[in-house]
Symmetry: C2
Subunit: 418 residues, 2 copies
């Protein structure tokens, strides 16, 4: 059987499973999640041994240490996988929620009820624990899932599939609703993206080249996360101590992630009192500053920012800094260079806080808090399968509810249209 036929058969099985799964009760799904946790603990040694094969191969191929690190499963990652499963089990089931109901003049009662999307195609890189996270969230939201992980994690992903589907079987749920595509070939991704007869949504998670490839080649709707070029705007009415804490956290706490600050915008009135100390702290933390000309005048010896620094997602200990005339200039800058991801203002002015919240077009807009809070767990969604920076279906972090849609249900008593 060739790759196309294989993936098509898997997609068909997924669709059939989705049909069974959409009626599954919360109890059944949570039981399966519990079995998954138990199975993973019971077969821990085996998982680590299988994962070691992937790690050895990756080393032989010369993958860089960061990638090897992400690939490696050990006691701690397995504990967190299990904790993740138990956490999803505790979350409310989004399926079946009536989001509204009203009565029409002709007596029809019209409601909207939350239902699963159907089949999700989840495409991701390296970390094998994402296999478990993705499977758990799709199961809890009543969706079947086709998982295409990184080729270097294939053995780990396949043993996890075995363990997860065993739990599904034990819970009397359709085992084909969780399938790992057993191919390390890149073509497998392209083939999956063409299965629009069977798959309802694609979620890609990974680097820019993966996302672009998926967005350009998919016949299926894609919920994609592009860049996170996030700003903190320090307003003239900011509490400067608070601003310092927030900006430092937003840049330094974990610089390699999408919700880290990449450019700091500072109102000209507070720049003299704020910038020198702030930049000093950044330098102590090893942050390289790329500054506008006005900032250079206040803090000599900094690197001058290039045009290409303003739209850059550094994902590193690098920060662009710009002094602005007023909030309007900050808003213009964000509109021009922001990536609709996360934007924050630090201010104690009521009106400005309201205006910033209203005028900024980003999936998460914060007042007096770090950009690092754009995250499903941190915002209280309970979990996260990704962050969507396009506006359709869901804007921002996606959790269980975002893996569903609503259908209309109508209770009539013989009504016809006239």
């Amino acid at each position: 059987m060739d790759l196309i036929e294989m993936i098509q058969a898997m997609a068909r099985d997924a669709k059939l499973s989705a049909r069974l799964l959409r009626g599954a009760r919360r109890g059944e799904k949570d039981t399966a999640l519990g079995f998954m946790a138990e199975n993973i603990l019971a077969r821990k040694e085996e998982i680590i041994k299988t994962n070691a094969k992937d790690v050895t191969l990756a080393r032989e191929k010369g993958l860089n240490p960061a990638m090897i690190d992400r690939l490696t499963l050990h006691e701690k990652t397995i504990t967190s996988m299990v904790a993740g499963l138990r956490q999803v089990a505790v979350l409310p089931d989004p399926v079946g929620e009536l989001t509204g109901m009203w009565k029409r003049p002709n007596g029809l009662k019209v409601g909207r009820v939350r239902i699963p999307l159907g089949v999700i195609g989840f495409i991701y890189e390296s970390r094998p624990n994402v296999t478990v996270d993705g499977a758990a969230l799709c199961l809890k939201s009543g969706n079947a899932v086709l998982l295409k992980g990184g080729s270097e994690a294939i053995n780990s992903n396949l043993i996890l599939e075995e363990i997860l589907t065993e739990a599904m079987k034990k819970a009397n749920l359709p085992e084909k609703s969780i399938q790992v595509i057993p191919s390390t070939k890149h073509e497998a991704v392209g083939i999956l993206l063409g299965m629009d007869d069977y798959v309802d949504m694609i979620i890609p998670r990974g680097g820019e080249s993966l996302i672009s490839f998926v967005a350009e080649n998919s016949k299926i709707p894609v919920l994609k996360h592009f860049k996170g070029v996030c700003h903190v705007y320090v307003d003239e009415c900011a509490d400067l101590e608070m601003a310092r804490k927030i900006c430092f956290n937003a840049k330094v706490q974990r610089p390699g992630v999408c919700n880290a600050m990449e450019t700091m915008l500072v109102h000209k009135k507070v720049a003299p009192s704020f910038l020198p100390g702030m930049i000093e702290s950044f330098k102590e933390a090893g942050v390289e500053i790329r500054a506008c000309e006005n900032s250079l005048r206040l803090v000599p010896g900094l690197l001058l920012a290039k045009d290409s620094d303003w739209p850059a997602e550094f994902l590193d200990l690098i920060l662009a800094v710009k002094i602005v005339e007023d909030m309007d200039e900050a808003l213009d800058h964000i509109d021009r260079y922001g990536s609709n991801h996360t934007e924050a203002i630090v201010t104690n002015d009521y009106e400005r806080s309201q205006e910033f919240l209203e005028r900024v077009d980003a999936s998460v807009v914060l007042v007096n808090a770090s950009t690092r809070f754009n995250d499903g767990f941190e915002l209280g969604l309970g979990a996260e399968i990704g962050i969507n920076t396009s506006k359709l279906h869901a804007y921002g972090p996606m959790s269980l509810e975002e893996l569903t849609t609503t259908k209309f249900i109508v209770f009539g008593s013989g009504q016809v249209r006239t």
Copy 2:
């Protein structure tokens, strides 16, 4: 300036206008809608005269009478355009609605607020009144719109654009937020579908070939309406008089539309008492019946249904009829041949009604009511820009709320992530 440059410039203007429009207040938008209604009434004669040019050209090109009919504007269609504008003005503004807010353990207050999508590309055929409907719904939901109507309606659409943007100017709203693409060339559609830097969503409305072309060529997310292969299942526990009324209405009241019934499924136990009379009524109304073998045994002389009749969207006075063993067979048939559009059951059995509502995967599922109610107005959404039969973003009829998305807003007091 060539076509690509022109459409690009329009798309860029639309994006700039959308940025201004997203902060517009309800009062401003409703005032503009009011001016539009007034302007249309004031320039009625001119509209009808310009439309006559389109109609003459269409006749010369030999367009069929149904298309000419749809193209023609007269006193009555203009009155209904104006009524439509006033109706949209009365609807609540979806923008700014807080759909939820909660407090995190660290004190962060997290809310979700409804915002416009940005720029909508609306591609449609023939009827010039759709230009006004589309513009009104996009304006009220705070979106800029690029309108690409049928080439045969170009003069009508351009004078309507002039009238609508005049009203925008008078209300101090950005006039470039309503733009008709002034080209009759088919390439214009393809060019618009490539403007993913500026346009957030495409809504195509028209025949199957238009929808397929758009779906296959768009780099922008498409909310598409495919076929409406709608069923009514007459259960063994149905009130047969009610079933007769509902089935007759679903097929005959307006057979050319997507929410008309195309296949009637009848439980074998009620088939002998229900089918002969029902088919008699259908025949009197000029409906051609294509029946399964079992139906033929009950009502001799009918046409035997071919395999191709079950997935067919007749959009005509033609009906496929099938006797089923039980509800499971009806559900299987709907899963196999339905188009996720509209499905109805007629039954007085409580459990079956619940099961049908739960198990059928369609954008609207009805108990004891005609399929013809799948319509934004009829379901109480106040208006309709289209019906989405794919599941992302909105499933079913789309109105103002479906032209928006939500962003997260976060009120902090200095929180950072640890």
